[in-house]
């Protein structure tokens, strides 16, 4: 295994892997979804699949913000960017996500003023420095990122910056998990819960998964040992016939979450009645919009938004991969028309996308499932 020398304690890893194999036994097949794209990346990068017995299967979840953003929202954002005297600011991940007429980066090359920023506060700063233009921040991300956008909105209001607004695409992870649990083609036994999202949300929002669906959830860190330990904790619960929320990432994740962050989200955003997720379709109350108190900073109020709905490129099977129904190499375009240099689907764009992770680290060493 290529990256095994980067493991902090190979012996400890081996012990946990052995215990996982012992508990998993034979006969029963375990399907465990890692919700977070950061975990997907770590699992491929470290070759963790090779440390698991064949009857413990990891399914990659929807926790990659650019991957679940439907193409229509990219088009909507770009339609705003193309309006007169607008500067669009976006995170680097967003710059390479294809819309119907190309990526934000390609629009930039055609002269549309789109700038990459590392913080929503940088977008606000551009607005302050460019009063003759209107700066729109293309906001994406789960609960980890939403508080930063919320506090940026609060700062824009406090400073009276009126040439700044947010095109809000923040989504929340729990309704997506519920949609997956309710989906007839998903048969999952347990979840590896997201790490950094949970620093904001805490562990309580996952309790319904154990209580109402009888599935264990273990919030996990990102080190190889963290992820393997979390899988072991899940198997222990499953073997004992239990379903609880456990926190393997206690060193970072407080059970109650980050209250100032949750307050900031509550002030700046409202739940949308529904929002479209790539691959998962419309999910009720699964996304945030800028709250009416901040309407003056809501790009969807300040600009005409076409509200485009477009289907994914026909041959691409992003939806099936996102739901874990197909593995990345089972998509007809994987590694051919769709690759990290020329991504067709967003799963190939971000390092947290299952396809990009698989392309980079796994497909040479793993047999393609039939």
């Amino acid at each position: 295994m290529k990256y095994v020398d980067e493991f902090r304690d190979p012996q400890l890893i081996a012990n946990v892997a052995r215990e996982i194999a012992r508990l998993a036994g034979a006969g029963r097949h375990y399907r465990i979804m890692e919700v977070c794209g950061g975990h997907t990346h770590a699992i491929y990068r470290h070759g963790l699949k090779n440390l698991l017995p064949p009857n413990v299967e990891l399914i990659h979840g929807p926790g990659c913000p650019v991957c679940v953003l439907p193409m229509g929202r990219v088009d909507d954002g770009l339609a705003i960017a193309e309006q007169r005297d607008v500067i669009m600011a976006a995170f680097g991940d967003m710059m390479r996500v294809p819309g119907t007429r190309g990526t934000p980066l390609e629009h930039k090359a055609r002269g549309v003023d789109i700038r990459m920023v590392y913080s929503p506060l940088d977008a606000l700063r551009i607005a302050q420095a460019t009063p003759e233009k209107h700066v729109v921040f293309f906001a994406i991300g789960f609960e980890t990122t939403a508080p930063s956008t919320a506090l940026t909105l609060a700062r824009a209001r406090a400073l009276g910056v009126t040439n700044f607004s947010v095109f809000c695409n923040h989504v929340t992870i729990v309704p997506a998990i519920r949609a997956i649990l309710d989906s007839p083609d998903m048969r999952l036994d347990a979840f590896v819960g997201p790490g950094h999202v949970s620093t904001v949300t805490g562990c309580r929002p996952y309790e319904f998964i154990a209580r109402d669906y009888g599935k264990p959830v273990v919030i996990s860190g990102f080190e190889p040992l963290d992820i393997l330990e979390s899988i072991l904790m899940i198997l222990r619960q499953l073997r004992a016939g239990e379903a609880r929320v456990e926190n393997q990432y206690r060193r970072i994740v407080p059970w109650e979450g980050n209250l100032p962050a949750l307050r900031a989200i509550g002030e700046a955003f409202e739940l949308r009645p529904y929002f479209e997720w790539r691959g998962l379709g419309f999910i009720s109350q699964s996304a945030l919009k800028v709250s009416s108190a901040f309407a003056a900073w809501d790009a969807e109020v300040q600009f005409e938004v076409p509200g485009v709905r477009v289907t994914d490129p026909k041959a691409a099977q992003c939806g099936e991969v996102l739901k874990g129904v197909l593995k990345p190499p089972q998509c007809k375009l994987f590694g051919k028309e769709c690759n990290p240099e020329h991504p067709i689907g967003a799963l190939m764009v971000s390092s947290e996308g299952a396809c990009a992770a698989y392309y980079r680290y796994a497909y040479l060493s793993e047999s393609v499932p039939a």
Partner: protein
């Protein structure tokens, strides 16, 4: 996307509330610390940083683990680019 970058608080800003200078592997930038207002932050504390905001306080040993993990994931350069890229509280 949910990159969490460890940094050490060097000083709290006297010019702007909720702002502090952090040191990330020798690079110093200002970040927003409003999300840690309940816990309080002091010079010398270690924090995890995400898109310009300190998200959580951590132990010094965890900060080293986190840096090592970013390197193992091949995301350490991306993290340093991000820290260098924060321009919202820097003088022109």
């Amino acid at each position: 996307m949910c990159l969490a970058i460890p940094g050490q608080i060097v000083e709290l800003s006297t010019e702007q509330a909720g702002l502090a200078k952090v040191d990330v592997a020798g690079v110093k930038r200002n970040v927003n610390i409003s999300l840690l207002e309940d816990e309080g932050v002091a010079s010398g504390d270690w924090v995890l940083i995400h898109v310009g905001f300190a998200m959580s306080k951590i132990e010094a040993s965890q900060a080293k683990d986190q840096l090592r993990m970013l390197a193992a994931l091949g995301e350490d350069e991306m993290a340093m680019d991000e820290i260098r890229g924060y321009s919202f509280a820097e003088r022109e």
